[in-house]
Symmetry: D2
Subunit: 346 residues, 4 copies
């Protein structure tokens, strides 16, 4: 027997996480897209903006003032930072569950959040209730969460890569290095000069070495895993690919351990984390368009440096896919429902 579908709302559907949510929800057997809002594009059929959705999404964008989000079972915020914290409280009061794909509820320490995001938090009380939506870490809490803070793209790839090592306590947690490379869609659909094809194409650069907003988010997660404060150097890079994050992680081993077995055991029951065979090198295209994270662990020349390679699609496992995975958990659906996506290769 087919149960009734849940009603889903999306706030802010004109960016890349928005169109990706629509791609996934269009075919989700248990979700019905009830409303999608956009202040700037109200009235415009969604498929007029994203022609890829022609035939799959019939709705138009609704003006936020007119949108009846209260009638939804769950609302996704695919908005810039600072929006969800304004609107989530009222929705939660009405019993609507909320998944924020932005950063408003990711960091428990309000002062840290306010420093990195440069604004005053509108509802610090709710932050304490929010569950950090990394299912591989917090599955049980997500199940009953009213408010889920969907992780950032870099944080997802880095935390999944370090998790087995930190939980097992086999590396020096004070000197972790995450050298991460992101495709350009990670910056969203923002029209900044540096993201133009003629600027970002055939070009590679680091950025934010002095400090990136994902640093405190990652540090918080790693600290939870380690059970003590970690020291992390995080260097993000912009690479000329559309989708994909490749995190290369370095740590110093402090105990002898079978690294391959450690990773395989930690993730043996995880549908969306795939530990590759010894010696492998995951490539970003092997997860393109899918919710998979693929990981390989190396110990070059048998030394005491462990190298973890972790790849995700930043728009799927790093954003919209993980949000749907969280929704599935929250509503008791199969965790992979609507997420059976064979990666597009080539």
């Amino acid at each position: 027997m087919q149960t009734a579908k849940i009603k889903v709302g999306i706030v802010g559907g004109t960016g890349y996480t928005g169109v990706e949510l629509l791609r996934l929800l269009a075919l989700h057997p248990q979700a019905e897209l009830a409303v999608i809002t956009s202040r700037g594009e109200a009235g415009l059929p969604v498929a007029d903006m994203f022609s890829s959705l022609r035939g799959y999404i019939d709705q138009a964008f609704t003006d936020p003032a007119q949108a009846d989000l209260n009638a939804c079972d769950v609302v996704f915020f695919a908005t810039p930072n600072g929006i969800a914290m304004q609107q989530a409280p009222a929705l939660l009061d009405k019993g609507v569950r909320v998944v924020d794909l932005a950063a408003d509820f990711r960091i428990q320490d309000i002062a840290v959040w306010e420093k990195w995001y440069g604004m005053t938090h509108a509802c610090p009380d709710l932050v304490a209730q929010a569950v950090y939506g990394l299912p591989e870490l917090n599955r049980e809490q997500i199940r009953n969460a009213r408010l889920v803070a969907n992780p950032g793209c870099y944080p997802t790839s880095v935390q999944l890569g370090f998790m087995p090592l930190l939980e097992a306590g086999v590396v020096d947690e004070t000197a972790l290095i995450a050298d991460a490379k992101s495709g350009v869609s990670g910056a969203g659909r923002k029209t900044e000069t540096q993201f133009l094809f003629a600027e970002a194409g055939d070009n590679f650069k680091a950025y934010g070495v002095a400090g990136h907003r994902h640093l405190p988010e990652i540090s918080q997660g790693l600290t939870d895993m380690a059970g003590k404060k970690v020291g992390l150097t995080f260097v993000p890079h912009l690479t000329p690919l559309i989708r994909g994050i490749h995190a290369t992680l370095y740590a110093r081993l402090t105990k002898e351990v079978d690294l391959q077995a450690l990773f395989e055991q930690r993730y043996q029951n995880e549908y969306f984390v795939d530990v590759l065979p010894q010696g492998a090198h995951p490539e970003t295209r092997s997860v393109r368009g899918s919710n998979q994270c693929r990981i390989a662990v190396h110990r070059p020349q048998g030394g005491d440096t462990v190298v973890v390679l972790s790849v995700i699609d930043n728009l799927v496992k790093g954003a919209a896919g993980q949000a749907v995975q969280n929704m599935n958990i929250m509503f008791g659906f199969a965790e992979n429902m609507g997420l059976e996506l064979v990666p597009l290769l080539p």
Copy 2:
């Protein structure tokens, strides 16, 4: 009630049309992958070659000599030209239906085929029985076909673009021009220098202007539609994208006609051909990973030149997707079964 799945065999699954067939069949509700052969890679798990298939395809490549293709309901040939014509006769004799994704059965005039493909045809009799697998043109014949010649990628995009004009007899069929641009995957997984990233990247060129194998295939199809011999200039180009064909078609109008209405009516019942609104410009990424063809028709400055813009994903509607569409028709499945693929954008 769920009927038994059909058994599917793939001959030659190590190229791009092979991996794309696997991507589609992995989730097809009525098809079961029975066997996939490769002479060179026998014994290798398919997912070791294409890591995108990890978790979806468990089989290994089978040596052709050991493969029991006769037990299949349908066999796809995703092989170089000249292979299917060797093996199809025996399979057909056993009652196995065959879809050839290569060119062996596409051209009815054997002499023409032998000239362009540089070999003697092994089974000219079968060519006459083969149905050219463009569903929008030959749906009824495909339904009962034992042997389907799956169209080439350029021919699909060009024929769907010209079809309404030629069937309606509104253009000068003696002076057609098809300026077509293909992504690099159209060349297959061949290791030729010109297809290296450092050669094909940030580069654009025409090729085969003096003559390309798809020219006689397209001419044959257009001649069928027009009911008389057409004159076609076909110029293919290599463009630095991975997937996608954009065909820009030119013809001289000989009758006044509402072009937009003509195209919309011709394709109103076609699931996989999408006529865009007046004035639109389809982009290749709007069909990336999907079986859709999107078309727009223009009449610049109200002159007598009609310009048709037609885009497909060369590996889907231009190869594996169309092959599955043909299979669906042949076996009485819904034509879009397993082909509900929302394009990947961005």
Copy 3:
């Protein structure tokens, strides 16, 4: 004996034609960069914006109000359309020669210009005096010109491709087709969504089929060559490369002619037009970073359709390089001075 260098000014140096002019002028033996203006970036060292110029350009951008352009021998306008026509008259009055890389002086018919560019022309009288700076067509007039209208990128590639055919009167000039493909830098350094890496990358589309501003410019030039009004269908496309234009041109032959000889003779004394051997296909990277135009001419299947393939680097022969070529002619320097640029391949 070394003569004194000429003093060069650049108005608007923050776009791609600006930085390209700087790249070329930095090493030009007879040109001295006197001043480069920018309203928005006044005071900023040029090399802080374009790190490629570190060590080659020491100047900072000057506020236009403070810039002493009158002391220059020549001023290049690398500005948006509509700027040069405001400022050129005063400079010309002071005896400064002007090269406009934008479109203000390209079209002789003021009404046509005003229609396509959507503004009232500020100095229609000067348009009549301006020389269209295509050296292969107008070398002698350029020599003595006070005001040169540097051609657009598409117009350069298309006109050089059609010129031998139209001058010789061997094609039907009423039905010309130019199917042109441009790299993304052709749009300038504008931050529009469609030019983002995640939008333009791995994507191909036509645009402006109903009408593009380069259409009247090209038609004017072709009409001059043919000596009678031409009919042209012009379809531009956006292709995922940074630099480069590939024009594929179609015309119907009306006379028997040795096409290869025709092209070779027409361009035998042209330093920057390279006619490739029979059967060749020029590629855009073969001119990357250089002022070369490479052309091949084909007659597929010996029919009456001639196909011309013409490639340039849109920022060099299509903009800044041609501007320097014009400057060289205007000041009596060797035409290739500062333009000995071996293309960057790969």
Copy 4:
């Protein structure tokens, strides 16, 4: 007064380092290309293979058996590993100076070389005489060298990045990390599947984590600088750009030091090493086509991890450009002669 040009020979000019040498030598005022050999392409005009060289290089490839390399002043080997060691001894005996762009003479420890390169060294004696051609390290020895081992691309970027730190002894040399990213041309013009556009495009991966041939070369250089054995973890990555290497280097500071001043002082007299201002992030395109190395040094959050960002064009400073720089030093020319190359941006 112009002195006579030196005669230059190139052995193996059909790869990317070969065509890049030709690009640079074509305009070098003191070098004359005397002969360029290729076994496979003997007789073919060089510009028929690389159309970018049309008009600049008139020669054809010469069969090695017929080539009179003994008449050259200097011979560059742009060959696969293992060729130069066969041919260099005879040339050196005739007084010809040799620059090997491959790896035959880079590693002083013959056993190490033989292990990593999988062959027996043909002339171990010469290895001891060879000078490692990193001018910023060995300028004086290069001046009088008969045989120069031109450094690898990764080794150039990594060594220049670590050099100031190791020479000053301010970091823990036992735990260095080099996370390096290379464009695809770094693999040469080899037709391996993984380097196809449809494989390497829109894709990012690490490779050779277990061990890469450049590891012993880098370790040897770093050990020289540090004056004691270093411990290095080196992880190379393949990134979808044509040219460019970005090395991100990590080390633990052991002494307080003004890092910015340290780097600026170390390189203040180096023409081809550009230390960027504090806080900058060099991008690969800022050196595209040029012999420049640009470096920035960071100390994130004021911790004890120093992060160095170092970019080069792998084919210029990482290969052919550095070879010409070495030639200039060997023959007493200005070190930047023929290397005044403004990077191509965009």
